[in-house]
Amino acid sequence: MEEPNRDDPEKQTRIAARRQEFENEAFPLMRMLFRTALRLTRNQHDAEDLVQNAVLRAYNFYDKYQPGTSFKAWIFKIMTNIFINDYHKHAKEPPMVPIENQEGFEPNPEKAFFDSVLDGNIRKAIEELPDSYRLTFLLASEGFSYKEIASITGANLGTVMSRLYRARRILQAKLWDTYQEEVHA
């Protein structure tokens, strides 16, 4: 067995160039990865771990990335898989509000009430979504197409659309309730 020659300058240059290439792709996405991780894990510490694990794993598997396809979708898929495998199963799901109750809610377009809903309430409402809805909703908020979300989460298109629809309805109903409570407090 030949030991890899660390002093081989040509090899070192190749590795450095490859790493630079990876960094050019990955680092501009760091903020996007982090804010998604933050809402997925619901805390700063786990979010930092999740992003670090995802980026390092992506680097280790960088030769599996197909040039010409979306690097952003690829690295989000890696992060999603780590989240589902390592965090999701340990995480306590918040009590799920029955969908039927939410479906009765009719949006009231007359009132632009979202303006008066505090950011903290929006973040809280998002964090209370069930994992699969939250993940789908966060990916859509990062501009991924339905098809990309399907590929990232391993769900079919119909499931993606229904999760996104329900996530929005649940959030709107919840924020509407919060608004009503504050107005009538």
Binding site: M30, R31, R35, L38, Q44, Q52, V55, P109, D119, L138
Partner: protein, 74 residues
């Protein structure tokens, strides 16, 4: 909301998932249907507020530095 059958189209319109023909058809529909037009502005407004809130967070510089170091060590 009297126009339930259009709700899925409305979401796909909002998410830029309609093809050109569907998009034109839906825009024509919204000219005639005040329910869908209002609902569209409501959903758009909701989406804008949520995205603004979600995008407020900066990535901690210490995390970026830690990752950079780890990459250079691997």
């Amino acid at each position: 909301m009297h126009c339930r059958e259009e709700i899925e189209t409305l979401y796909r319109y909002l998410d830029h998932e309609l093809d050109e023909g569907e998009q034109t058809r839906f825009e024509l529909h919204m000219r005639a249907c005040v329910d869908c037009l209002r609902r569209f502005y409501y959903e758009l407004h909701f989406q804008t507020v949520v995205v603004q809130t979600l995008h407020e967070n900066e990535v901690p510089p210490t995390l970026v530095e830690r990752i950079r170091l780890a990459l250079h060590e691997s």
